[in-house]
């Protein structure tokens, strides 16, 4: 018993429990939470994720422990639960296991998800304490954690896809958590649908990858691209990788809110603030970056895809930053800031700085979660529901001291104040771009991409520092602008509308500030994990813990700097980063510190300001360009279905039936003579059929013998002229008998005859065909030139002067003049000018087997009861050399 428990907690199996614990929490809270009290629900919700975090830490320590010294292969923790299902590829089963891999990349990510998840769960205990659907919230949150862990830990694409869509579902449910507000529910749907567009890309990308790599496992896929096996017949390797990566990246743009699919994330702020912190800032939205890092070996196969990622990331960073500058609500600003920071991460991935991008994922998780929770704390304090207008806040520094200090630290981090975590990660990204920019060899990626990314990100970084401190100054400095403006009650009932907020805000409870403090410390410190490898100007080397740690999990891209001095790029990046931070904060200080109005709103051109505030009007653009046409298409489809398809198949058919029945019923006159006349006509028609006899001769060839069978009928009598020489051999005199008094017809319905060469009337060349019937070519005294269509492609001896063979009949033999064809007769290639072949010979022209078949003739006369005589002459192709019982062809 004890061993069993111990076994269940073996390190590999721990991976399973990391996932299962939050899932169990979700199930328990979802099913029974409604009936339990809040403490119990909170205990289950927080306890499961806490245990999960504990297990993750244990696993991570174990992972560290397991790594061998030196350059030996990295050993990940792996656990395969069971085989989910399998597909078959090229005759081989490709199993899809519920498998978890805990390596450098997923280990870090798991810690982030469970760690920050735990903090946010604790925070939610306070934040959601008054909500009606407390249990539902924790169920969703736990479900999200489980899904995210599946996403992170998955060892193959389909299992990752469970988590990928699972987090989408939780995001949908949590955005629409307060479902009674229609706008929130609509925002949830928007998130799900936009994510689905991305999932479509992941799905297709997955299929391409499995087609190429023959496996869904990340390890195999990456291995195949490392080993140069990333090819498929009929595709260029680069193109294939490009297509696959672009589809995958489409998915990433959906999940990680990049252009063009970023529009859902700002709306997603409708969810409770802990959700925004956990899902829409720290974890879920970084899944795209995570996936790109997971598949980095595939991405580096395709410069095109990398460039696209870099450009899209940079543009997103820029666009979102400009929008954030003009927003008025806390969470909106933070949301656009998230989009912008995600752009940074993708830009890093795009220029090959995967470690830097993932480092930014890591640091961003801390400071952005802290910012969101801080915003939540502010909103909780002032009683804002949904979102808080910063122009109605201010001066909260003294009222919310703990919130203030953590918020400030995080702002510094995101703005890139040196020694704060964001500084290091952002600097690494800029460094990556600069390294590409100064690279000498343009073999992989164009340096201009590097400069574009560098420039764009530098501007975006400036803007980031600016709008973050704008947010900070407006919220925490100056006077509290809602003091005395509201009665302070019913905060749930009104949002950031006309009224101000709670006149006397108070600091949040410890369950909320505790996590804030932890995250704030994290926002400062975690950056030290990724100290730069090279210090600017001095050129001193520092241990590069982060990069070394992630090395085995990521593809590695090296650029040779143009001047040969690696320090150039480092210096450029450092200067750009620091000056961006300084300019941004300085501007914000001068414009917003202790101020209550928005100088941008008054100073900038009104059209530009409103354009920015309206988020570049992208939503409106999408509505006009995508949504409305698609919805219109749906309406058209439904209209077509009712008015065209249905009408065509139902109304038209029934109309035709009605019409034809109308016409046909005209014949029902009710006059018996008319019916009688028609009947008489029918009888007369039958008479006509019986008037003349129908011989219907059916020959059956048995080698040289042919057996003829004639049709039967009313009073039929027969006589046969089997060799068509004009005298009737059957019936011979004494057997002839007739009920009609004639002595020349008999009652034999069949006769047979053995044909000799004297009876041959002609010859036919039979060419075999693989499909369908054989091809028959009638021969005569005049030469017939064979049609090349019959002979197929390989009939010529040499490629030039293509004259097909000619065939004619001479006496009882067939003469073939091969011309330029390869004619094989009597087992060898015919080299003579002409070859004579008797009936029954086999030959081959090119690839086509042929046969010379003689044709014989027979005549039958039939007399019926009316005394009418019909004569039928049949030509029969016989087979003189064929085995008995072969079939015969009638040539009429």
């Amino acid at each position: 018993m004890l061993e069993q428990i111990f076994d269940n907690f073996a390190v590999e199996r721990m991976l399973l429990w990391i996932v299962l614990l939050p899932l169990a929490g979700a199930v328990v809270n979802g099913l029974f939470g409604r009936f339990a009290d809040r403490q119990m629900v909170g205990l289950v919700g927080v306890g499961t994720i806490g245990l999960s975090f504990f297990l993750a830490v244990v696993a991570f320590l174990r992972l560290l422990d397991m790594q061998p010294e030196g350059d030996a292969e990295f050993v990940p923790l792996q656990y395969s639960f069971y085989e989910w299902f399998s597909i078959h590829l090229r005759g081989r089963a490709v199993p899809i296991d519920i498998a978890f891999v805990f390596d450098a990349l997923s280990g870090v990510m798991t810690l982030v998800v469970t760690g920050i998840g735990l903090l946010i769960h604790i925070y939610s205990l306070g934040y959601m304490s008054h909500d009606r659907s407390f249990a539902r919230f924790f169920a969703y949150l736990n479900l999200f954690s489980a899904s995210m862990l599946v996403l992170v830990l998955a060892g193959n694409l389909p299992v990752m896809f469970i988590g990928w869509e699972g987090v989408g579902l939780c995001s949908y449910l949590l955005i629409g958590f307060w479902y009674e507000t229609p706008a929130y529910a609509a925002a949830g749907r928007k998130a799900f649908v936009v994510n689905r567009i991305g999932d479509f890309g992941v799905l297709i990308g997955m299929f391409i990858l499995v087609a190429v790599a023959g496996s869904f496992d990340f390890a195999s896929i990456n291995h195949s691209s490392y080993s140069g096996a990333f090819t498929l017949a009929g595709w260029e390797a680069g193109t294939l990788a490009t297509v696959a990566c672009l589809f995958i990246f489409l998915g990433c743009t959906g999940k990680s809110a990049q252009i063009p699919l970023y529009v859902w994330l700002p709306d997603a702020m409708a969810g409770p603030t802990p959700v925004s912190a956990l899902i829409h800032a720290a974890t879920m939205v970084t899944a795209g970056v995570y996936l790109c890092c997971r598949l980095s070996p595939v991405f580096v196969q395709s410069p095109v895809a990398m460039s696209v990622v870099a450009v899209v990331g940079t543009l997103t960073a820029l666009v979102a930053a400009t929008i954030a500058v003009a927003q008025r609500e806390m969470k909106k600003i933070l949301a656009y800031s998230t989009v912008s920071q995600l752009g940074f991460m993708f830009a890093a991935v795009g220029v090959g700085a995967f470690a830097a991008g993932f480092f930014h994922v890591f640091t961003h998780a801390f400071f952005k979660a802290c910012l969101f929770l801080g915003a939540g704390s502010v909103m909780h304090a002032v009683g804002a529901h949904g979102d808080a207008d910063i122009f109605k806040l201010g001066g909260l520094r003294s009222i919310l001291p703990r919130t203030h200090i953590t918020f400030l630290l995080s702002c510094c981090a995101i703005a890139g104040v040196p020694m704060f975590s964001g500084f290091f990660s952002k600097d690494e990204i800029l460094l990556g771009a600069a390294q590409l920019g100064v690279a000498s060899d343009a073999a992989f990626l164009s340096p201009s991409i590097g400069w574009f990314v560098f420039g764009g990100l530098a501007i975006a970084a400036t803007l980031t520092a600016f709008y973050m401190f704008r947010l900070y100054f407006l919220t925490f400095t100056g006077e509290y602008r809602s003091a005395g403006a509201s009665d302070g009650h019913g905060s749930e009932a009104h949002g950031s509308g006309e009224h101000g907020y709670d006149a006397s805000p108070h600091e949040s409870p410890a369950s909320m500030t505790g996590p804030l403090v932890v995250l704030g410390v994290g926002a400062v410190c975690v950056g030290w994990l990724g100290l730069p490898h090279l210090l600017p100007f001095t050129g001193a080397h520092l241990p590069h813990v982060w990069g070394e740690w992630l090395k085995p999990a990521l593809a590695h891209v090296e650029f040779t700097p143009a001047g040969g001095d690696p320090l150039t790029a480092v210096n450029i990046a450092f200067i750009a980063g620091v000056s961006a931070m300084a300019v941004g904060i300085g501007l914000a200080y001068s414009m917003y510190a202790n101020k209550s109005s928005d100088p941008i709103a008054s100073g900038a051109p009104a059209s530009l300001y409103s354009f920015l505030q309206d988020k570049w009007r992208v939503d409106e653009l999408y509505a006009a360009v995508v949504l409305r046409p698609v919805k219109g298409l749906a309406r058209i489809c439904a209209w077509i279905d009712q008015t065209f398809v249905d009408v065509l198949l139902t109304k038209v058919t029934s109309g035709l039936v009605t019409l034809s029945s109308f016409i046909l019923t005209r014949a029902q006159t009710g006059v018996m003579h008319a019916y009688g006349f028609v009947m008489a006509l029918g009888v007369a028609g039958l008479m006509l059929w019986f008037w003349s006899p129908h011989p219907d001769v059916m020959p059956v060839v048995k080698g040289q013998n042919v057996e003829f069978t004639a049709g039967r009928g009313l009073g039929y009598e027969y006589r046969w002229d089997l060799n068509a020489d004009g005298t009737f051999e059957v019936p011979s005199g004494e057997h002839a008998s007739s009920t009609f008094g004639s002595k020349t017809f008999g009652s034999e319905t069949s006769a047979s005859h053995r044909y000799t060469p004297d009876d041959f009337r002609g010859f036919i060349l039979v060419a075999a065909a693989i499909l369908g019937e054989d091809i028959e070519i009638p021969l005569s005294e005049h030469a017939v030139v064979l049609d090349p269509e019959v002979l197929g492609p390989d009939w010529q001896v040499s490629g030039d002067a293509a004259l097909p063979p000619a065939v004619r009949v001479e006496g009882n033999e067939v003469v073939i003049r091969p011309n330029s064809a390869a004619v094989y007769a009597r087992g060898k290639l015919v080299s003579e000018k002409e070859v004579r072949l008797p009936a029954g010979s086999r030959l081959r022209i090119g690839q086509v087997p042929m046969r010379i078949a003689p044709v014989v003739q027979a005549t039958l006369e039939v007399r019926n009861a009316f005394g009418n005589v019909a004569r039928e002459t049949v030509d029969v192709t016989i087979d003189v050399a064929a085995p008995a019982g072969a079939r015969a062809e009638v040539v009429r």
């Binding site: 005759g91 699972g166 649908v193 499995v210 439904a638 075999a768 065909a769 369908g772 492609p793 064929a882």
Partner: protein
């Protein structure tokens, strides 16, 4: 003699007959019960159907690893026409039978309170319907299949026409005529194949196994395939033959809709798998991509149509068109996971759409409307209902972890990775691309429903006190929910039994396809087409289409067979007597 006289058949030997017999006998019993006892009639029929389900679980005990049919029974019926009562299940029909036996009691139980008139006839119709459905799934004789196929038409027609909504008669007649038109063409095709068998083998047979041996010329295959395919395409229903479905669903009572969507539609696909495709391989290979393209059109078109529907039931009906498009796509991919995915997706669709129809019925019973506009905010008053609805919605959307995902994933990967000869090669990628957009559209229209029904403020204050799901409704939905997650998380229970059957299906298809391609003259394959005798192997190259260039190496059997067949009378048996056997090559796999 005495042995057979005193031999008591074990249940396993006559299990399928028992499964057919239980509802039939119950139907007789119900027939003689007084109509004044509706409760007794309901109880008797539901419990009989439940017992039948429990009995049908016995089917799982069969050995589905091989190519043979399990629980095979064969009794000669009309000897002169070679018609026999031959039934059996393989890994494909097994699940469809179980789906039938599971959903029929559920459907009937779901109508427990909503049907108050003519209860006796209603129960009778369901019992007979189950006989027809099970029979159609287990028949291995074309004649028997046709009888069951038509048998289930009548109860369904009555269910829609008698207990349906306002325009029930229009919908019922439309349903009946559509289905009938297709099935009559199918009957003609069945008779053609059987008579061809008669000319070739000298006696009639409707035994599927025997008829599989018939090789027909390409053009004939095309026509016959078209006849079969029309019948099945109407049943599936595939675009553009789907317009009966929304009408039928909207008018049918809840129980009828459940059975219609969950089981009857599957018979179309099943017909393709069991009959149309194996009998006519050349035609399948030739038109398969086009049929699959129709399926893909159905996916997108059905989704678009569903999106703008105002009536929830109509919306779900159109979503069926969309989902069944996936099934068609996977089937014609003609590879193991494509076809297995199709089979699985059939079950999935039965479970999810069945549950959706039950859920729509639940709300219709409470509010007497199905218009989306009249709902809103129901999550507040009916939390359990909402939970179940969202779960089923997610299954319908194909969220991983639910059943819909596994099926759709296998189908799309099957289509994407389809081989070029028998499947659709490069076209598969394009088709998959379009099919995958259906996944997006599914999310759009299903979430549209959820949004309109459950989120937002309550549309009417009196909805505040709507009763949530009753115990009976929970009981009805519980098995379906279990299946949603079971198939979603551990589909191997199902796939492990299905895949061998699918592999048999595919290898038989390949063998016959090769035999047909080599020489599609009208002839009979050896009893076991996998072991050919005579005739050296032929390499196959070039286009597999009928218009093969004659330059390809001729079949040696042709060479030795005298002259070509008589064109005036192509099917005299005497002319066939001495033809050497076709060279059916199994080693030369085209791939």
């Amino acid at each position: 003699m005495t042995d057979s006289l005193f031999h008591q058949p074990a249940l396993a030997e006559v299990l399928l007959t028992v499964l057919l017999g239980v509802p039939l006998v119950t139907a007789f019993a119900v027939l003689f019960m007084p109509r004044q006892w509706p409760a007794a009639i309901r109880r008797l029929s539901v419990s009989a159907l439940v017992i039948n389900f429990v009995l049908s679980l016995w089917l799982l005990g069969g050995d589905y690893t091989g190519a043979e049919f399990q629980f095979l029974e064969k009794v000669s019926w009309i000897e002169s026409l070679g018609i026999s009562y031959k039934v059996g299940v393989d890994g494909i029909s097994l699940w469809l039978v179980l789906l039938t036996t599971l959903l029929t009691p559920i459907a009937l139980y779901a109508s427990w309170t909503s049907i108050q008139t003519k209860v006796k006839e209603y129960a009778l119709a369901f019992l007979l319907l189950e006989v027809g459905m099970i029979g159609a799934f287990v028949s291995l004789d074309l004649f028997l299949f046709y009888i069951f196929w038509e048998l289930m038409l009548v109860p369904m027609y009555l269910i829609i026409g008698v207990w349906g909504g306002k325009d029930r008669v229009y919908a019922a007649v439309k349903f009946f005529i559509y289905t009938m038109a297709g099935s009559l063409l199918m009957l003609v095709a069945i008779l053609y194949v059987a008579t061809t068998y008669k000319t070739l083998a000298g006696q009639y047979s409707f035994d599927l196994e025997q008829l599989h041996r018939v090789v027909l010329p390409f053009e004939v295959q095309l026509w016959l395939f078209a006849a079969f395919a029309l019948a099945f395409a109407i049943k599936v229903p595939m675009f553009p033959f789907h317009t009966w479905l929304p009408d039928a669903h909207v008018q049918a009572p809840t129980g009828g809709s459940v059975i219609l969507a969950a089981v009857l539609l599957k018979l179309g696909i099943y017909g393709f798998i069991r009959f149309a495709i194996p009998l006519f391989p050349l035609a399948t290979q030739y038109v398969g991509p086009s049929v699959a393209a129709l399926g893909v059109i159905g996916i997108i078109y059905g989704a678009y149509c569903a999106w703008v529907q105002k009536d929830v039931k109509k919306l779900v009906a159109y979503s069926s068109v969309s989902h069944m498009g996936f099934v068609v796509l996977g089937l014609f991919a003609m590879n193991t996971h494509g076809v297995s995915g199709s089979v699985l997706q059939m079950i999935n669709h039965g479970v999810s759409t069945g549950a959706l129809f039950i859920l729509v019925g639940v709300i219709y019973e409470r509010l007497h409307t199905r218009q989306l506009d009249s709902f809103g905010g129901l999550a507040k008053s009916m939390p359990w209902y909402t939970t179940v609805f969202v779960i089923v919605t997610m299954s319908s959307v194909g969220l991983p972890g639910t059943n819909g995902f596994v099926g759709e994933f296998m189908i799309m990967s099957g289509a994407f990775l389809s081989e070029s000869f028998i499947g659709f090669g490069r076209w598969g990628r394009l088709l998959t691309l379009f099919a995958a957009t259906g996944v997006i559209l599914a999310a759009i229209y299903m979430l549209h429903v959820v949004l309109r029904m459950f989120w937002g403020p309550l549309s009417k204050p009196e909805h505040e006190r709507l009763p949530d799901l009753t115990a009976r409704e929970h009981l009805v939905l519980a098995p379906l929910l279990v299946l949603v997650f079971w198939i979603g998380l551990y589909p191997n229970t199902f796939l492990k039994r299905t895949e061998p059957a699918v592999q048999t299906f595919l290898s038989d298809f390949n063998t016959k396809w090769l035999a047909c391609r080599q020489n599609d003259a009208e002839r009979l394959l050896r009893p076991d087409p996998a072991v050919p005798a005579g005739g050296p192997a032929q390499p196959k190259q070039g286009s597999p289409s009928k218009q093969g260039s004659p330059s390809q190496q001729g079949s040696p059997s042709k060479q030795g067979s005298g002259t070509a067949k008589p064109s005036s009378a192509p099917s005299r048996p005497v002319a066939q007597a001495g033809v050497p056997g076709p060279a059916a090559d199994t080693k030369g796999d085209p791939r």
